[in-house]
């Protein structure tokens, strides 16, 4: 019966092909979108996952680069029991690179947009792990007093052809590249790391102002309690967020993207499902006489139903396989545009099961119609 059902699909090749294509597009849409969500999550976790502490920024501002805090707050945070190190930070976007004004329209991908992270190097070097920038692939870490030196992300290295020892002019100041960061994360690969003093110099930020503080804790497990204590003492001026909060905010945002991905893909798949119903129904009606003679030969309505359902599940399976291949293509294309993207086994399995289930669901009505045929009418062609 399975062979029979499979062969039936090839009687009208173009019709079957179009149904398979419909499912494949739906599945590819789901895989493509989910792969981007998973890719972004993975990249983010590789950077943020290792950070354990509390991040402080100006109350009620929308973005860390817009935050302005009095530098003296750092001392106050550092004086609290349980705080190990406090790192003052600046977040900047250069106005020109190597003398060329930075224009967003010139940027061909996310990774070619440079952003500057400047930190107090003395404090930064006391941290247990490298926050925000991850590990170093080539060259070495900036040390306190390393004025005029930067570390650059992979994106800067590749797009601007910079190596350890190269010079890079940011706004009006020339820097020498001391190291290349390891992360290939598209989100972080455009980062340039420098001392806070250099950051102030190129951006004109006064010495009594910082953008944010990162407070590393003696006991990372107490981050929620510490954040509450800080909130209690300085909550009128500063928002405190633990890195685990940051992760969950990020996960929440990505979670909504997940839902959007499923909705878009689901809609595409629904349309494809209607296509399958049409294909199978047409194919059943064309074979009325054959089905009649099967019933005459002792096939029950249930047997006929099974045969038709196999056909629609086959369409779902073929669509699923084609969709997975297409989905890999979409994911690769996303990578080409600098969007992090990874196709996980879970997504592949779920998409395949979804495609089969869609095929099965779409087959129910035509299969029911076929099983309810009156054998006498069917034999004479309905």
């Amino acid at each position: 019966m399975i062979k029979l059902s499979f062969l039936n699909l090839f009687r009208r090749k173009s019709r079957t092909f179009l149904s398979v294509l419909g499912i494949a597009i739906g599945v590819a849409a789901i895989i493509g979108l989910m792969s981007v969500v998973d890719g972004v999550t993975q990249e983010y976790q590789s950077i943020i996952g290792g950070m354990q502490g509390v991040w402080a920024w100006e109350k009620d501002v929308a973005d860390n680069s817009l935050s302005r805090l009095d530098a003296s707050y750092g001392t106050e945070i550092a004086s609290m029991q349980g705080v190990r190190v406090v790192v003052p930070e600046l977040w900047l976007v250069p106005t020109s690179v190597d003398g060329k004004p930075l224009s967003l329209s010139e940027a061909s991908s996310i990774s070619s947009i440079p952003s500057i992270y400047a930190a107090d190097l003395t404090a930064y070097n006391k941290l247990r792990s490298n926050i925000w920038i991850g590990e170093i692939a080539e060259g070495s870490m900036l040390k306190p007093g390393d004025s005029g030196y930067v570390l650059i992300g992979q994106g800067i290295k590749e797009n601007m052809h910079k190596y350890v020892g190269s010079t890079i002019k940011l706004n009006d100041k020339k820097f020498r590249v001391k190291g290349i960061l390891k992360t290939e994360s598209e989100m972080f690969s455009g980062i340039i790391f420098m001392s806070i003093e250099d950051g102030r110099e190129i951006s004109g930020t006064p010495s009594d102002i910082v953008h944010t503080f990162f407070a590393e804790l003696q006991n990372p497990a107490e981050d929620q309690a510490m954040a509450q204590k800080m909130e209690f003492r300085m909550g009128d001026k500063i928002d405190f967020m633990t890195t685990s909060d940051l992760s969950s905010v990020f996960s929440d945002i990505l979670g909504s993207f997940d839902i959007v991905a499923v909705l878009i893909g689901g809609l595409a798949a629904f349309v494809a499902g209607v296509g399958i119903i049409n294909t199978i129904l047409m194919s059943v009606l064309e074979r009325t006489k054959e089905i009649g003679s099967m019933m005459a030969a002792g096939w029950t309505g249930g047997d006929v139903m099974k045969m038709v359902l196999y056909e629609s599940v086959f369409i779902g399976m073929l669509g699923g396989i084609a969709g997975i291949i297409l989905g890999f293509g979409v994911s690769e294309a996303a990578k080409g545009y600098g969007i992090p993207s990874v196709v996980t086994t879970t997504v592949i399995i779920n998409s395949f099961v979804f495609a089969m289930a869609l095929g099965l669901a779409a087959g129910i009505y035509p299969a029911w119609r076929a099983s309810k045929m009156n054998p006498v009418e069917a034999i004479s062609g309905g």
Binding site: S293, M295, A297, G301
Partner: protein, 239 residues
């Protein structure tokens, strides 16, 4: 001994659009083991309807159809399918073969829902096709076979479940005289040498010569029903 199939005062009414058509108006007939019954009658006389009722494809409007003594008129669809699967084989005028399957696979179609060892099914189908002179055409698809060959495939399909009775609706209707005669000879062979019971519905009066019993049907009623020759005898179907 109970008849294989017996129709008792059977009527059948159809609704075509808004008109009620009375296809059978009180027909009684007994099919006994070893019969080779030929039913003739003009178009619309009700002969195919009678065949469908005898073959448990349909239920009568009134009267009884007894298969092995059991009345099928009250049975559900599943039970009717089981009767057809175990006891009855059908041969149709237009063969109704599946174009994507070869002759051997077409013959095996009735075995699909039956739990049977695949190899046994293949052996059985191959043996049947060999006996029907189709040895060299087993792996050909219906499109590659002549009308007579296709009908022989459909006879093999009707025989694969080893039914007691084979019902044929205009089996020679789409064939020329010579080919049609060969197909009927094949059926006679199974009737006389393998003790299978046949009921043929036809327009062709020349087939009446082969019948153990001739049945004339007109306007939904059996006009004449007469014995023609003894079973297992008399007719030489061999060339």
């Amino acid at each position: 001994m109970a008849s294989l199939i017996e129709a008792r005062n059977v009527t059948k009414k159809y609704k075509m659009d808004k008109v009620v058509v009375e296809a059978l108006r009180g027909v009684s007939i007994k099919i006994e083991k070893g019969d080779f019954i030929v039913i003739v009658g003009p178009s619309g006389s009700g002969k195919s309807t009678l065949l469908h009722l005898l073959g448990a494809l349909d239920r009568p409007t009134s009267g009884q159809v007894l298969v092995d003594g059991k009345d099928i008129s009250k049975m559900d669809d599943w039970s009717l399918a089981m009767i057809r699967r175990k006891k009855i084989g059908f041969v149709f005028q237009s063969f109704n073969l599946i174009p994507t399957l070869n002759a051997l696979e077409n013959v095996m179609i009735p075995l699909e829902p039956v739990k049977m060892d695949m190899n046994e099914g293949i052996t059985r189908a191959r043996d049947l096709l060999e006996l029907l002179d189709m040895k060299d055409r087993m792996l050909h698809k219906p499109g590659e076979l002549s009308g007579g060959q296709r009908q022989r495939v459909s006879i093999a399909r009707a025989l694969i479940n080893d039914p007691e009775i084979i019902l044929a609706d205009e089996p020679t209707g789409n064939l020329d005289t010579v080919t049609g005669r060969k197909v009927v000879e094949a059926m006679l062979h199974w009737n006389q040498d393998h003790d299978k019971t046949f009921v043929l519905v036809t327009h062709d009066p020349s087939l009446l010569d082969f019948a153990t019993r001739k049945v004339y049907i007109r306007d939904g009623l059996i006009d004449i029903q007469e014995n023609n020759r003894p079973k297992k005898n008399a007719v030489s179907y061999h060339k």
